[in-house]
Symmetry: C2
């Protein structure tokens, strides 16, 4: 996978083969391509400030609303709600209302959400290997 690939590319929509690379031909990224690009869509969805934390916690086990609120240091309820709704709309998170007042709601990952979390895990492996200058080796498990 070290050469420029055929098939879908970053900035490209769906299953369309890459348009360009005719010698002398200039590739242009149109607004439509950008908006429809699935890569960009996912990145912008989980690239916000709190989604990774939510996905991480729900990946461990289901959580209630206030439970999430307490588990994520610094988040406001307003934003937590927005984040959950957004993840739910994308099909990554499931919301289940249990029982009458005192209303209990449980948030959990869908299969897609779990799959996404695995993907982010891979991304994490890459980030640790490529991001900082050299790899930190003095890292211990102590506090």
């Amino acid at each position: 996978m070290s050469t420029a690939a055929a098939g879908p590319a970053v900035g490209d929509p769906g299953a369309r083969p890459v348009v360009a690379s005719t010698p002398g031909e200039r590739t242009v990224v149109t607004g439509r391509q950008r908006e429809e690009c699935p890569v960009t869509a996912v990145l912008r969805r989980v690239g916000d400030k709190w989604s990774p934390a939510v996905l991480r916690l729900l990946g461990e086990r289901p959580h209630g609303y206030n439970e999430l609120d307490r588990a994520i240091e610094g988040i406001s309820r307003r934003v937590l709600t927005r984040t959950l709704r957004a993840l739910e709309a994308e099909g990554y998170v499931r919301r289940a209302a249990l029982g009458a007042p005192p209303a209990r709601v449980e948030y959990s990952l869908t299969d897609q959400g779990a799959s996404l979390r695995e993907l982010l895990f891979v991304l994490g492996q890459w980030a640790i290997a490529h991001r900082p200058g050299p790899v930190l080796e003095a890292e211990t498990t102590s506090d």
Copy 2:
């Protein structure tokens, strides 16, 4: 890789093993963890509006500044500059000034940038497989 993993998790910093999962123990994502998490860092860097397009074009071949400006429909020079500077600061993009006026500058991917592009390609595979409801099959190469 279908079970919750040991090793770095989304929301976790560096190479530290996951802290929690003691039964009954509540995992808390602290502000520090969030800020230092390499996954979040990468996501927020390339999860902006234009970075994917830039990476895609530079992945094909090096580009000049105005060349990028023309190739990316809808971007403003202000934002293009900011995006390039940000990618450069992270070590994904290299800026090379060539010759005297009329100043020519060439932007290209570093090794890290190329690696990142491959990663985004993988992300694209995943997105196409998991994102839309059913897979669009009526997709043709026609305009």
